[in-house]
Symmetry: none
Subunit: 104 residues, 2 copies
């Protein structure tokens, strides 16, 4: 595909913060159109601003996520094969439900 995934720069993020401080959160189109920030946000759509703000909110204290590199005891993602059931299954694994990131 042609999506190099444009990461947000510090300048863009600052412009977004300033824009929110000036116009208020939710006024994405207004912020994007503001000549004061359009210099830095011309490459972002109002939707992008919204998404970035959402991400910033989560990263700001919302989630007390411990970024420590201490995986300690990672809980088993799937059912723990505590029982090495030797049932007849050569190629077909058990009903190993995937992580189900998103499945409707």
């Amino acid at each position: 595909m042609g999506n190099p995934k444009q990461k947000w720069t510090s300048e863009e993020e600052e412009a977004l913060r300033a824009g929110v401080a000036k116009h208020g959160a939710g006024k994405w189109k207004n912020i994007q159109r503001d000549p004061e920030f359009n210099h830095l946000l011309f490459a972002r759509s109002n939707i992008d601003l919204k998404d970035k703000w959402r991400n910033l909110s989560v990263a700001s204290g919302q989630g007390a996520r411990d970024k420590s590199k201490t995986p300690k005891a990672k809980i088993n993602p799937a059912d723990t094969p505590a029982t090495p059931l030797l049932t007849a299954q050569t190629s077909t694994p058990l009903f190993h439900h995937p992580k189900m990131h998103q499945q409707m």
Copy 2:
């Protein structure tokens, strides 16, 4: 730890290749949902498909053959990389048109 780490079978890999050929790379969820491939990929998530495709591409040497993957930490012990300064001073990316969620 006891991570099952299900290795990909040839059938799954073939299904993935066929799925990509049919739906295109990037449409992982679509491939996984396809009744034609769900038979073999029901135990894999869309994320798994993406990851497997990435590993497949690397193994095929599609990407960069060079394994110098920009070490996060410093690698140059004493030698100075003769990397000429790129003219890329401004962080102005190419005119990447935003998805234009504004004016249609």
